[in-house]
């Protein structure tokens, strides 16, 4: 149990701060609502439609592919930093890794997953 005290402390402090700030601003701050103030972007464009619309599945496709290749870069970073230490072994390893992703890339390209229409 001893080991968990910092976590409980953290939860306690977090709750305390959150609740205090939310209640204090209610009493201390000015409170004069008007339609302009309550709109989603007070100083921005007036929203035209509701945000809860159906999106085309194409966005999902692009998002998934983006995550895939984003992760590739995340793996490349630590490898690049330790390039000298990892040596030839690491180099071959990384080439294999990128080759696998390249095959995946050829697949999505040929299947037209990146074509919008």
């Amino acid at each position: 149990m001893q080991a968990y005290i910092p976590i409980f402390l953290m939860i306690g402090v977090g709750l305390f701060l959150g609740i205090t700030f939310l209640t204090l601003q209610r009493f201390l701050g000015p409170h004069r609502p008007n339609p302009e103030k309550l709109s989603t972007y007070e100083s921005g464009m007036p929203p035209v439609r509701t945000a809860r619309e159906r999106f085309s599945v194409k966005y999902y496709m692009v998002a998934v592919l983006f995550i895939l290749f984003d992760i590739e870069v995340i793996f490349l970073y630590p490898w690049a930093v330790n390039f000298r230490a990892l040596g030839v072994f690491g180099y071959i390893e990384m080439i294999l890794f990128i080759l696998i992703l390249l095959i995946g890339y050829i697949y999505i390209l040929k299947k037209g997953a990146l074509q919008w229409d």
Partner: protein, 477 residues
């Protein structure tokens, strides 16, 4: 830092079946994207991959070590299960071609997904670490989610995929949380190093809760009651060839990892843990067979039968003995062959849009297609557990392990519920042989028929000479 000290030739040899299949799956993917209408080529590339992988798995059989710092087991148990998964995959591949051509839904991706899920299964069957098990389950399941929704224009297939995906992802959450708690109480996720901390680690309630959560994850994957709700809908909605593969390969993989993870905790014969698994087994046998009685759709009936069979195999886990684990392994071989054969027959007779799947549609089959009717009857007898078919020997070993571990009530329940199951398994035989009806059927595919005959021969041979497999099993455990 020299990387070579973390990576040796033995690692490469140990993971060769998995690496070979992985390489072939990439080649197949490349062929599929570069060559137009390449379904046939992709199919043969996948078959070649499975065969090469089989060769490596046989080659590794005599070995007995671990690879990648105890992450992967090599030889013996791991090789046996790898061979089992690969043979099931081979059967499933050959069953799929005529089915997909008949349904006019033939894409190369199907075969690639099948062998990708086999890679996941092989990881599960050779896991020395809870993280490897998790990785294998995910690789297998993600491929299954896609395969279940393979008929993407059909509503039932979509429903099946979505249901499987949502529930499966939820169950994986439990599994991971359990692994986290086990890691928290022992400081390692490695099964060998966890076993080294027994029996002290077992006293910690958090450790037991961890195993309980892992148990939930596994129960979902093997389709045990009360985590079985997805099974009937997923099995019915998925393409029949996929159902055949999921219900045999998927279940075998889940049980192989189940044994690896639970053999040490269960050998402690902790009354609480034993009781929990015994109750899971009893509930699966009762509810699976109970609901099986009222089914009219054959795929749905086999789904409930799959739940019931998960119950029989859980007896082997509950017993916590080597006899039980050998029993499960033998059962998986016989169940795999039987179910592949049964689903093979169903896939051959199925008509467009999931027609021709009810009991009535099989009336008079003994007159129109006598060979198929005889084979399907054999599979039903084997599922019931009637000698001389392999299903009987499997059940015998599982019930014997229960008696050995003072779980006689479980064995008695198993026998009684098998008796119930006779009603719905033999009902199809009655329809085929003693009911009039049935229109003339178009000629059936030769490849499918050969595959089904092969599994039929398999269950008879294993039923008469079970020592073929049992001797191997005894040397393994």
């Amino acid at each position: 830092m020299d990387m070579m000290e973390y990576f040796s030739n033995a690692d490469l040899v140990g993971s060769s079946p998995i690496l070979a299949l992985g390489t072939f799956s990439l080649i197949a993917l490349l062929v599929n994207s570069l060559v137009k209408n390449s379904q046939k080529i992709v199919f043969w590339v996948c078959v070649a991959g499975v065969v090469v992988s089989l060769w490596f798995a046989f080659d590794n059989f005599e070995l007995n070590h671990t690879a990648f710092s105890d992450m992967l087991l090599v030889g013996g148990y791991a090789s046996f299960y790898s061979i089992l998964f690969l043979v099931i995959t081979l059967f499933a591949l050959f069953l799929s071609v005529p089915y997909l051509e008949k349904e006019e839904y033939h894409l190369g991706e199907y075969y690639i997904l099948i062998i990708l899920s086999t890679i996941g299964m092989m990881l599960m069957g050779s896991a020395g670490d809870l993280i490897t098990i998790f990785l294998g389950i995910e690789i297998m399941s993600v491929a299954f989610y896609v395969l279940a929704g393979y008929f993407r224009t059909k509503l039932s297939s979509n429903e099946s995929a979505l249901k499987y995906f949502l529930l499966g992802a939820f169950a994986t959450g439990f599994l991971l949380y359990g692994i986290a708690l086990i890691y928290g109480t022992t400081g390692t996720t490695n099964l060998i190093r966890i076993a080294a901390q027994y029996p002290q680690a077992f006293m910690d309630p958090l450790h037991l809760i961890g195993w309980g959560l892992v148990l939930i994850g596994f129960s979902f994957k093997v389709a045990a009651v009360p985590f079985h709700m997805w099974v009937p809908d997923v099995y019915e909605g998925a393409p029949t060839s996929v159902t055949a593969f999921m219900s045999t390969g998927g279940k075998a993989a889940a049980f192989s990892a189940f044994i690896l993870a639970f053999s040490v905790p269960m050998s402690m014969h902790d009354p609480k843990l034993t009781m929990v698994i015994a109750i899971l087994a009893a509930a699966s046998m009762l509810i699976g067979n109970w609901f099986g009685l009222s089914q009219t759709n054959l795929k749905r009936m086999l789904a409930y039968s799959s739940i019931a069979h998960a119950g029989y195999m859980l007896i082997g886990i509950a017993s916590g003995t080597q006899l039980g684990q050998q029993g499960i392994t033998f059962y998986l071989v016989s169940y795999g062959l039987t179910n592949l054969g049964a689903f093979g027959v169903i896939a051959m007779l199925e008509k467009e849009n999931g027609k021709n799947l009810s009991y009535e549609d099989y009336a008079g089959l003994a007159r129109t297609k006598p060979a198929l009717a005889a084979l399907l009857s054999m599979f039903m007898f084997s599922l019931t557990g009637i000698p001389p078919f392999a299903g009987f020997v499997g059940k015998y070993y599982l019930f014997a392990s229960a008696v050995q571990s003072n779980l006689t009530w479980l064995a008695i329940l198993g026998v009684i519920t098998s008796l119930f199951s006779t009603y719905y398994y033999l009902r199809i035989v009655v329809y085929m042989y003693f009911r009039e009806g049935g229109e003339e059927l178009p000629p059936l595919s030769r490849i499918s028929f050969a595959t089904v005959v092969l599994s039929g021969i398999g269950i008879v041979v294993l039923g008469i000479v079970p020592s073929l497999i049992l001797d191997v099993l005894k040397s393994m455990f």
